[in-house]
């Protein structure tokens, strides 16, 4: 599906002709494809429509810079609008208030509130050096309170005990007293999951909100949610109101268009992404990364990044300088390259952009060079000592076995990586005699993919 859309979009982009200016006529097809891509990514239909309209208004009549094709210019506009809509820069929680700072989590059933409460507590403890107390007012789901209590113990946070026979508002009042007494900095209130159409339950959360008077009220929303999430977000925002959002289960393969929808509807920033099962798996939300993901076009968008000069030139320059000085391309450099490739959506995406010679079977290369493969290679290099990375020649049989064991892979994989590196090193040496820097600039970011050397 995603390949289809991305393919269709690229085709549409290629068809934009009439270089020099974007017109209603030459962007129509592309915008239609973008609209479909947004819908497939679960962006709510009204939000997708409004978005496309804004892009159209900005694009029509736009003078295309000499260095760009009209298609690239359009993508640049789309990407820019996406980032703007998602909220520009990352916004962390505002904790600058008189302690105890109260944070309330609300959302639908199964969104991941309880897990998020624990993750957030852990983050505030470790990154912000706060003392955090957790309390659950979920008197509805069996064992929900116990779940939070166990998580609190696991991360070493304070926990205010509550029971399923208590009134949620009473629990909050008690927790507020307890948090003051214990001199904790932050109180995180975990509420029961509820549907936004359930009047009684919405009244309950409003009452809890009133009693807790939270400094931050976060709407926890599943990255896999569909079109209806906007209605839920709107309702919660109207009733509570919200100050931000947390997008959970973002480590899945959902494109997470819901981020765009809830952001547009509520205007509140997305603060964090939940990216795994463990309590440390909470990341600050980066609008630019999400923008690429929603359109599902890491490769197309990376072209834009190139245009905008956002590519990691520093590392490329550093490598070029190093090679000019006559030092060799070592395994640590290879790891840098691999990591850059990962951040660009893997080798497959890059291969699409490379002008491959006729005889090369691109699909065979792709299957072998997936993201998993790259991660494995990075894993192998990570299992080496710094010395081994600098001097690959010292890696003998027993070192290879240790490395393979460390990476959890067969020794053959280590051999293959070392051989690949050797080929690349030779190639780099050849290049460094010529204008290396110039050459690197001509290549896509990430340099030469291994295996093509």
């Amino acid at each position: 599906m995603f390949e289809n859309l991305s393919g269709r979009l690229k085709e549409a982009l290629g068809n934009i002709t009439g270089k020099g200016r974007l017109t209603e006529a030459n962007i129509k097809d592309t915008l239609r494809q973008v609209r479909l891509a947004l819908l497939e990514a679960d962006v709510a239909l009204p939000v997708a429509k409004a978005f496309i309209e804004r892009v159209r208004e900005r694009a029509v009549g736009e003078q295309v810079a000499a260095s760009l094709t009209p298609g690239q210019a359009l993508i640049k506009i789309i990407h820019g609008e996406l980032i703007a809509l998602l909220g520009g820069d990352a916004v962390e929680l505002d904790l600058k208030a008189r302690p105890p700072v109260v944070i309330l989590l609300a959302g639908l059933q199964g969104a991941g509130k309880t897990t998020t409460a624990a993750k957030l507590a852990r983050r505030l403890q470790e990154k912000n050096k706060k003392r955090v107390m957790l309390v659950s007012v979920d008197v509805h789901r069996p064992a929900a309170i116990l779940q939070l209590e166990k998580l609190a113990a696991e991360i070493g946070a304070l926990h205010c005990a509550s029971s399923a026979d208590e009134e949620p508002v009473r629990i909050v009042e008690r927790a507020l007293a307890e948090v003051r007494q214990s001199h904790a900095d932050v109180l995180i209130v975990d509420t029961a999951g509820r549907l936004h159409v359930d009047e009684d339950m919405m009244d309950e959360v409003v009452a809890v909100h009133g009693a807790a008077r939270p400094h931050e009220t976060l709407f926890v929303v599943d990255a896999m949610a569909g079109q209806d999430a906007v209605n839920a977000a709107r309702e919660f925002d109207e009733r509570l109101p919200l100050t931000g959002m947390v997008l959970t289960k973002a480590d899945g393969d959902a494109k997470g268009g819901v981020a765009l929808s809830v952001r547009e509807v509520t205007g509140k920033p997305i603060r964090y992404l939940g990216v795994g099962e463990k309590t440390e798996a909470l990341e600050v939300f980066h609008p630019d990364r999400m923008a690429s993901r929603i359109l599902g076009m890491g490769d197309v968008l990376s072209l834009v990044e190139e245009i905008e000069g956002k590519v990691d030139r520093d590392k490329a320059d550093k490598l070029a300088r190093k090679l000019r000085k006559g030092r060799s391309f070592d395994l640590a450099d290879l790891r840098d390259q691999l990591e850059q490739m990962l951040s660009m959506g893997g080798l497959a995406a890059m291969l699409d952009k490379l002008p491959l010679p006729g005889g090369v079977n691109a699909s065979a290369l792709k299957s072998d060079a997936g993201e998993k493969q790259i991660r494995r290679q990075i894993g192998i290099i990570n299992s080496m000592t710094p010395g081994e990375r600098r001097h690959p020649k010292t890696i003998n049989g027993s070192r290879k076995r240790r490395i393979a064991e460390g990476a959890g892979l067969p020794v053959q994989d280590v051999n293959r990586l070392l051989k690949q590196h050797l080929t690349m090193e030779k190639m780099m040496k050849k290049m460094s005699r010529g204008g290396m820097k110039k050459l690197l600039r001509g290549l896509p970011p990430g340099g030469v993919p291994p295996g093509l050397g």
Partner: protein, 336 residues
């Protein structure tokens, strides 16, 4: 095809005392699917000014389908089918459009309407519940336990979610409520071992249905998917036909990722049934259509509320009629 057509013969199934639980469920389903800014909540007529059906009407319908999470490709197919009817001048008025749409949706959904009938003649009938985190697996087990008990079957639960904090206790709470035994081990135990033990216990006690919980997992986490295939493998060693049902639990609020879930869980395990939960939100569960269109996995149950009776066997005509018939809901209010 549909075993529940008799319900449609009921006059006007609003909430009345003395009606069958099934009919009560239908009227609640209807009201819920059309609550608030419903899908066709304002009725087909409202977006066919003048009653003329044309390309614009279909475009509007297309938008509604997309907003119900039916997805771009399934929607295109549905609209294409209607376009054919339009060209053949079969869509003369709103009623014809409604009938055409109804038939098109039924063509997709009727093949997947295959209720679950546990066969315990060869020992316990094992239902392995799988799904992503927060889909509602444990709650569904609680409701299914009640359902099977009311059908006169004996039930046992297996606490196969050994990962999430307090998941075992959550299942035990459901066990207590339904007075059915729960087989559990300590947190972090091997889920395959827990479920295997539970199977042994169920067989020894002559239990009819064993409902096995598992931890939620995202379908792209290969290691966790392998854990599920291990459960299946270990059970099969004891009884080749077990687990007889591998039930994927899907949240009705899911978007297009539900397709990926159905595909990947199916590839890994061979999903034999789907249960859709939380249809009582304003989500329409259109992913059902997308999945039925692509994969043809039987849909077993749909859930529209907290109560155990709010979980019922899936019936294609009921679901489609509830979606299409907004008039009941309008009259009952719930207009925002």
């Amino acid at each position: 095809m549909c075993r529940c057509r008799w319900i449609l013969a009921l006059p006007d199934d609003r909430k009345q005392s003395g009606q069958s639980p099934r009919a009560g469920f239908l009227s609640r389903l209807r009201a819920k699917l059309n609550a608030k800014a419903g899908w066709l909540g304002q009725d087909l007529r409202d977006f066919v000014p003048g009653g003329r059906i044309d390309e614009d009407t279909l475009e509007e319908l297309e938008a509604r389908l997309v907003m119900a999470d039916v997805g771009v490709s399934a929607t295109s197919r549905i609209i294409a089918a209607l376009e054919k009817r339009l060209v053949r001048r079969e869509l003369g008025d709103v009623d014809a459009l409604r009938a055409g749409l109804r038939q098109t949706l039924l063509d997709i959904l009727e093949p997947v309407e295959r209720p679950l009938v546990p066969d315990s003649s060869q020992g316990p009938f094992v239902v392995l519940m799988v799904g992503v985190n927060g889909a509602g697996k444990t709650t569904t087990i609680g409701k299914l336990a009640r359902r099977f008990l009311s059908e006169g079957r004996t039930v046992m639960l297996a606490a196969g979610d050994t990962f999430r904090a307090a998941a075992v206790e959550q299942l035990q709470a459901w066990g207590e409520r339904n007075r059915v035994p729960v087989i559990a081990q300590q947190p972090g135990a091997d889920p395959a071992a827990v479920i295997f033990d539970a199977y042994e216990a169920a067989r020894a006690r002559g239990i009819d249905v064993l409902l096995a919980d598992t931890a939620g997992r995202l379908q792209n986490q290969q290691g966790l998917m392998d854990e599920l295939t291990k459960i299946k493998r270990v059970l099969a060693r004891k009884e080749p036909t077990a687990p007889q049902e591998i039930m994927l639990v899907l949240d009705a609020g899911l978007g297009q990722n539900a397709l990926s879930q159905a595909e990947k869980f199916n590839d890994a395990l061979g999903v034999t049934g789907i249960t859709v939960t939380k249809l009582d939100g304003s989500a329409k569960g259109g992913i059902l259509l997308a999945i039925a269109d692509r994969l043809a996995i039987p849909v077993r149950f749909i859930g529209i509320g907290e109560a155990a009776e709010d979980m019922q066997t899936f019936c294609a005509t009921e679901y489609v009629d509830a979606l299409l018939d907004g008039r009941t809901a309008n009259r009952e209010g719930a207009h925002s």
